[in-house]
């Protein structure tokens, strides 16, 4: 058989055998298992018979993210053209939203973000796998998908690449790779971007394609273009322009996601569907999601109560966000996205059931608190989740210690009946044994 007739799969197989036991082996193994169903069986250690391996878990999350990604590609164009021509009256989804023009903007802006995120991230994973001599881990598959969805659309690609390198190396690989990290890598990347390039991450010029570019051209003296801008709902509220915001975006816009924001954080409805999908496929913890929603509602209610009591008046810088209806906090900004896809990360979140309730509740609580109280970060959900990632091991530690104490107590109080030499049961306290 000549070389030309060999299928790709066979060539890969030959390459794989050729490199077996050598340094580059993990790279070829990874490509093989990624493209084709692996035919190897586990050959050492204990075996768990389950169809649910890491790759399948990751793929499920990606499936839950695909609708959000597609929506965000249309929304990129929709926000761009709406910022130029004004929001359409008599909005209809087919005419104004699902158009090729919109989708084209999505292709030229969102897809490059996705490609850079996956390309750089997986490259680092491959390099580390080759250096350390283990198989390439699937951990980056979800992170790579999340990253383009949580950055502003005009983020330059080199910035994203640097942030991804930081997030994967410092956030994950130095801890020993997938499953060992303490902070969510996607959020580490977002935080790095936020603190390293603040002018690219906040303000009213970053959420809409071309807004920044046009502002720069106008500053240089171009007169043939109009300035465009798109402020997020939270940005409007933080500046106390709630009334102006109400004339632009309705509550239904917030629910369906036709608002500016990070690439994929806006469509609350699709995120909700994704969340239900993750809960029913038992990938994500419903405890964390539910308690995080509860936490944000409680904090929102407290703030609404403070406003109703008249303790905060219109002069206060916090008035705009404090008087925002408590349930609407879930519809705007990254709260819904963060709760469904980030907070439920099984590695960095709390791992005990009771711990998950506490962890989730505090995420919701802190998210709304940072939004309101921290004028610098109205989009502070990612920081709240990072903070709780830091404290998740502490929460787990105390839940576990509490259980140990409870069981010890139960054991010392239990009555046991050992048989003595005559075969008669004798009542004994466990502590005497």
């Amino acid at each position: 058989m000549s070389d030309k007739r060999l299928t790709f799969k066979k060539r890969l197989h030959i390459l794989k055998h050729h490199y077996r036991g050598k340094k580059m082996a993990p790279a070829f193994n990874a490509i093989h298992t990624f493209l084709f169903a692996p035919d190897e069986t586990t050959h050492s250690g204990s075996h768990v018979r389950s169809a649910d391996d890491l790759k399948r878990t990751m793929n499920t999350v990606i499936m839950a993210l695909v609708p959000v990604l597609i929506f965000s590609m249309f929304n990129a164009g929709y926000q761009h053209f709406s910022a130029i021509n004004g929001f359409p009256e008599n909005f209809s989804v087919m005419e104004h939203f699902l158009t090729w023009d919109n989708f084209w903007i999505g292709i030229i802006k969102v897809i490059p973000l996705l490609v850079v995120s996956y390309g750089v991230g997986l490259l680092i994973e491959f390099i580390f796998a080759v250096i350390k001599g283990h198989e390439v881990e699937e951990g980056y598959l979800v992170t790579g998908m999340l990253v383009p969805l949580i950055v502003p659309i005009d983020t330059p690609l080199w910035m994203l690449a640097i942030a991804v390198i930081f997030g994967v190396v410092i956030g994950k690989e130095v801890f020993g790779g997938t499953g060992m990290n303490i902070l969510n890598p996607a959020l580490t990347i977002r935080a790095f971007l936020f603190f390293a390039y603040p002018t690219w991450m906040s303000g009213d010029k970053v959420w809409v394609y071309e807004a920044r570019e046009r502002a720069e051209q106008i500053a240089e003296g171009a007169t043939n273009i109009d300035a465009i801008s798109g402020e997020t709902v939270l940005g409007f509220l933080a500046q106390g322009k709630g009334a102006e915001m109400d004339t632009i975006y309705s509550t239904w816009d917030m629910f369906w996601g036709f608002i500016p924001g990070s690439v994929g954080e806006t469509p609350t409805f699709l995120i909700l569907l994704g969340g239900l999908f993750l809960v029913f496929s038992k990938i994500a913890s419903w405890r964390i999601m539910l308690s995080a929603v509860l936490g944000s509602l409680v904090m929102g209610l407290i703030f609404n109560g403070v406003v109703d009591q008249g303790w905060i008046t219109g002069n206060s810088p916090f008035y705009g966000l404090m008087s925002f209806d408590f349930w609407k906090h879930l519809l705007v900004g990254g709260l819904a996205f963060g709760i469904v896809y980030m907070a439920t990360d099984p590695v960095t979140g709390a791992q005990t059931n009771r711990g998950k309730w506490i962890y989730g509740f505090l995420i919701g609580f802190m998210s709304v608190m940072i939004r309101v109280f921290n004028p610098a970060y109205p989009e502070g959900v990612f920081l709240a989740i990072l903070l709780m990632n830091v404290f998740a091991p502490t929460i787990d530690h105390y839940i576990v210690q509490g259980n140990i104490k409870k069981r010890l107590k139960r054991l010392t109080n239990a009555t046991i009946y050992p048989k003595d030499s005559e075969g008669e049961a004798k009542e004994l306290k466990a502590e005497t044994v």
């Binding site: 020993g176 902070l183 603040p198 002018t199 940072i370 921290n374 004028p375 091991p393 530690h397």
Partner: protein, 254 residues
């Protein structure tokens, strides 16, 4: 009352001893391998801060400040003993730490053993002296507020060491690259935790910060130009030093 609450949360989260000002790092890094030990040390730090900050406040108010000795009589009103603050603050702290050590040894020998040398080292824990010096620098007004400040900054330090101890217990079996094992990875974790604590940065400042992002670029430029200036200065200095060295070497040769 409001100022008490504000100071309390501010010193726990916003001006956290570890993540905002990076004080008390030595014992924070060294005694954070186990949660139980970390809790013991954290509690000791809270106690020492809660006692020393108000005591040093009294010292500052009635002994050290400019004109603090006025209560002795009008002829003392002009004295300014603030140059003695360091030595007096440290003396108070050392005494209190000695006391804590005696108490801990008496009531919890196991904790005393696990804390080891780090218990007496609280005396030179910069978080403790830092607490007193911040109290002086920020001109905290009343005794109650000083006590509040001591307790709450202690709690902030306690939270930090508690969190990192739990994380270090969690990653004990992680496959950390060999050169980073031990202190290296702990430093990295501390940095990442600092990012988490950034969520409080800028809180309670009253909304003036939203303008900051606009001015950031100019600020960076300024710093850069300053850097250039200092760099040139350094270069000049280097040249001078080089010349000196040459002459020195020449002198030796001669």
């Amino acid at each position: 009352m409001l100022e008490h609450i504000e100071l309390f949360f501010k010193s726990i989260f916003i001006d956290n001893m570890v993540f905002a000002v990076f004080l008390g790092m030595c014992s924070y890094l060294a005694v954070s391998k186990k949660v139980a030990t970390a809790v013991g040390l954290g509690a000791a730090v809270i106690f020492v801060l809660a006692v020393t900050v108000p005591m040093n406040w009294l010292l500052d108010k009635y002994l050290l400040q400019d004109g603090a000795l006025a209560w002795l009589g009008p002829e003392y009103a002009e004295y300014n003993l603030s140059f003695l603050s360091f030595i007096l603050f440290i003396a108070t702290i050392a005494t209190m730490v000695q006391l804590v050590e005696i108490v801990v040894e008496k009531f919890s020998p196991s904790l005393y053993n696990s804390l080891g040398i780090f218990l007496p080292l609280i005396a030179v824990n910069c978080a403790i002296l830092g607490g007193s010096l911040f109290m002086q620098a920020r001109e905290i007004e009343t005794f109650g507020l000083a006590f509040n400040y001591g307790v709450s900054s202690g709690i902030g330090w306690f939270l930090a060491i508690l969190a990192i101890a739990a994380i270090r217990e969690k990653i004990r079996y992680s496959n950390v690259p060999a050169p980073l094992r031990g202190l290296g990875i702990t430093f990295i974790i501390t940095g990442l935790m600092g990012i988490g604590f950034q969520s409080f940065g800028g809180m309670l400042t009253g909304g003036g910060d939203s303008e900051e992002s606009v001015e950031t670029e100019t600020a960076v430029e300024k710093i850069e130009s300053e850097d250039l200036g200092t760099l040139e200065l350094n270069k000049n200095k280097k040249n001078e030093i080089d010349e000196n060295e040459i002459s020195y070497n020449d002198a030796i040769k001669k």
